[in-house]
């Protein structure tokens, strides 16, 4: 029965799409019921895999149509769910479930909702199918569904011109990415005559790295870089994230670019495990570092809530890529942890942006202000998300960023390469800049003075707040219990990344694996423990302090009788205006950091010119990236 779980989990999502399209044509509640049931079932089925895969270390292999390998050739399509796949699978199902619940109310103001849910579920199912599959061409098929569904959802609010524009850009650039992946797949097939990932891994292990393989590899790295929105292929992402409905932006940052990251990890560390890794490391770390830096500096310059979040999404993916690029145990741990955290806090932040949009109808930072009084829960949840993404303890971003810093710095000590210190410094600075841009959002959306037109803004409905609360709670849990998260989620996944031989053995049979790996399958060691810093004891400290000071505050430290509300019409409760009469004056977000921008104006002007919105240039950037990766691989990888 366990064997059937992955395929049922995937197909339930697809069937949910079809059935909601069929029966939910007229009835709203029936459609919602179907969607809820499908996403919930998928989540439960994936969770049922948790015990056998993560805890007992099983790897599930499943041959479609019982086409088991014949004379050592994998003729059918196989699903292979190892710990890495399940790690991403859990991310996908949880995100989809919460996103679906959020959509119920959030989308209620749009028409054509039946179409929305169909495409939504296709997106969900395709990403789950992508991470569970063990077949190179099947990966392409799923990424194709994903791209089309993402384009459709980007343009869903088609009464806005920017949605259509963003979808067009995404379609062009995304299709180039898909084509690169397809071409890579085709070339791989020409070389190896098989499409099964495990078998390709095995064949690569003993093969020379011929130009054909390098060519295919470069194409696929380029393609997945587009899917993961890695600089300089990121240019379409901000438009798409900003134009899509927020529940979809959450999916974009939570699962769509995770699919790209998963593809990269699977290719670089499992399929091409026999490659000369140090040279790949440099490429990945380099790409990751510029990704996080450019992402965050662009975010500082934005004046739209969702665009800003989109650039942060890019920046955080840079962290993930940098960390996994180190390819040490520590680095991979940090990278996967950050991937998980990114899903949690960025999902939360996008949902908060959606809540603001739902209540006020705009996400322009220059128009908003003072919403904390009207939407206290959203403001609080936003602060949780903002602190988490900025890496303020005790939230989850702190733990994973800490792992990233430690990983990069340890790597520099190990290899005696000063370049990695530079990466550590950039990572730390990027973290502060992240904080800066969230301060800007906090100031210009939730605090300050409330503009007249939003006097009637209300807190969003409960069904929108529940997913936000769940995500916030998960953020806190992942920050407080890092050892548990690492033991149960990250560690198995990291070990799975490191044991390509095991991956082959499960899928193609032990005999085959022993034929290929004549020296025996190496069993990786997980030698990292969260030593040095024990966050639980730290949290106890913080808690004790909190209680102590709460007591102080209660026993008259703040003297509650003196705290008078602003209800009475006394002039002393007005904001200080140097003695002038009070008037509406809100410091909005547009130019909050001019001191920074003024000093770096050369850089910002250059970035402004690069993000010019011309699709031809964007396509050129993708192609150039692929060409450069290709050049790099051909010249530097031995």
């Amino acid at each position: 029965m366990t064997n059937h779980l992955p395929i049922i989990a995937i197909q339930v999502l697809f069937l949910g799409a079809f059935i909601s399209g069929l029966v939910g044509y007229k009835s709203n509640s029936l459609r919602k019921f179907v969607i809820f049931l499908a996403t919930g079932t998928s989540l439960v089925l994936t969770l049922m895999l948790f015990k056998p895969v993560m805890m007992e270390g099983q790897i599930i292999s499943y041959w479609m149509g019982n086409w088991v390998p014949v004379s050592d050739w994998a003729i059918g399509i196989g699903l292979e769910v190892d710990q890495l796949s399940l790690f991403f699978g859990l991310i996908v199902t949880v995100t989809v479930f919460l996103g679906a619940i959020y959509s119920f109310k959030y989308m209620s103001k749009d028409n054509g909702q039946d179409k929305y849910y169909v495409v939504f579920m296709m997106l969900a199912g395709s990403v789950l199918g992508f991470v569970f599959t063990g077949d190179l061409f099947n990966m392409y098929v799923m990424i194709e569904i994903m791209t089309f569904a993402a384009v459709g959802l980007t343009a869903f609010r088609n009464h806005k011109a920017e949605s259509i524009e963003a979808a067009f850009k995404y379609l062009v650039v995304g299709s180039i990415g898909s084509s690169l992946i397809l071409l890579g797949t085709v070339v791989m097939y020409a070389q190896f005559k098989t499409l099964n990932l495990a078998q390709i891994t095995a064949l690569l292990n003993n093969a020379q790295h011929t130009p054909v393989i390098l060519f295919a590899f470069a194409l696929m790295i380029g393609g997945y870089a587009v899917k993961a929105f890695i600089v300089p292929c990121h240019v379409v992402a901000p438009d798409a994230y900003a134009a899509a409905p927020s529940s979809v932006s959450m999916l974009f940052s939570g699962i769509v670019n995770k699919a790209g990251i998963y593809g990269m990890i699977r290719l670089v560390f499992v399929v091409f495990a026999s490659m000369n890794l140090p040279s790949m490391q440099f490429l990945l770390v380099f790409l990751g570092t510029i990704t996080m830096f450019i992402g965050v500096t662009m975010a500082l310059a934005q004046s739209d809530f969702k665009r800003l979040l989109a650039f942060h999404s890019i920046s955080q993916i840079g962290y993930v890529l940098t960390a996994i690029g180190l390819s040490t145990i520590l680095g991979l741990t940090g990278g996967l942890y950050h991937a998980l955290n990114h899903t949690l806090f960025k999902g939360l932040l996008f949902l908060c942006a959606g809540a603001v949009l739902y209540s006020t109808g705009t996400t322009d930072l220059n128009k908003l202000g003072g919403l904390a009084k009207k939407m206290p829960q959203t403001a609080g949840l936003f602060l949780v998300g903002a602190f988490a993404i900025s890496g303020i303890p005790p939230f989850n971003g702190f733990v994973s960023k800490w792992l990233v810093y430690q990983g990069t710095f340890a790597k520099s000590m190990e290899t005696n390469n000063p370049g990695y210190v530079f990466v550590t410094i950039v990572a730390l600075i990027v973290s502060v800049m992240t904080l800066a841009s969230f301060i800007k959002v906090t100031q210009s959306v939730f605090f300050g003075q409330l503009p007249k037109e939003f006097e009637n803004a209300e807190e969003v409905p409960l069904s929108m707040r529940i997913p936000m609360w769940i995500l916030a709670a998960l953020c806190l849990v992942a920050g407080i219990l890092p050892t548990a998260v690492i033991d149960y989620l990250i560690k198995p996944a990291v070990l799975a990344i490191k044991s390509a031989g095991n991956y082959v053995a499960v899928m193609m049979g032990q005999e085959y694996a022993t034929k290929i790996y004549t020296e025996g399958i190496a069993i990786p060691k997980y030698d990292y423990a969260m030593a040095g810093w024990n966050p639980t004891s730290w949290l106890i400290l913080f808690g004790v302090l909190l209680i102590a000071f709460a007591l102080v505050a209660l026993t008259g430290g703040f003297n509650p009788r003196h705290i008078v509300g602003a209800e009475n019409n006394n002039a002393k409760f007005d904001v200080f205006f140097s003695g002038e009469a009070a008037e509406h004056s809100h410091v909005a977000g547009n130019d909050l950091f001019w001191g920074l921008k003024h000093n770096l104006k050369g850089y910002f002007h250059f970035m402004h010119d690069v993000h010019n919105g011309v699709v031809n240039d964007y396509a050129l950037m993708v192609v150039s990236t692929t060409a450069l990766v290709m050049l790099y691989l051909f010249l530097l990888v031995k």
Binding site: I77, N111, M122, S126, G152, H159, L631
Partner: protein
């Protein structure tokens, strides 16, 4: 800059592509691997005379399922994008 990048990337891809083509030409010409097994055993396994259909719908039926979902998604997306939006179009 743009012009340079265009020519540069096209040159790189063209040159490496030609190089790869050349090295592909020396790969063994006979078809083997998965394809041979599939073609040899298609009829007793699937009872279908058309080997292509047999491959497409049986041994790689899951991919075809995915491909038909691609079509479905594309059509659903067109329906969603080209629908009458909130403020008319």
């Amino acid at each position: 800059m743009k012009k340079f990048m265009t020519f540069f990337s096209l040159t790189v891809i063209l040159v490496t592509g030609l190089f790869v083509m050349k090295s592909m030409a020396v790969l063994p010409a006979t078809y083997d691997g998965v394809a041979k097994i599939l073609v040899d055993t298609t009829i007793e396994r699937t009872r279908a005379l058309n080997a292509v259909t047999a491959v497409v719908f049986d041994s790689r039926g899951y991919d075809t399922l995915g491909e038909s979902f691609v079509l479905f998604t594309a059509i659903s997306c067109s329906a969603a994008i080209l629908r009458k939006g909130l403020k008319g179009r």
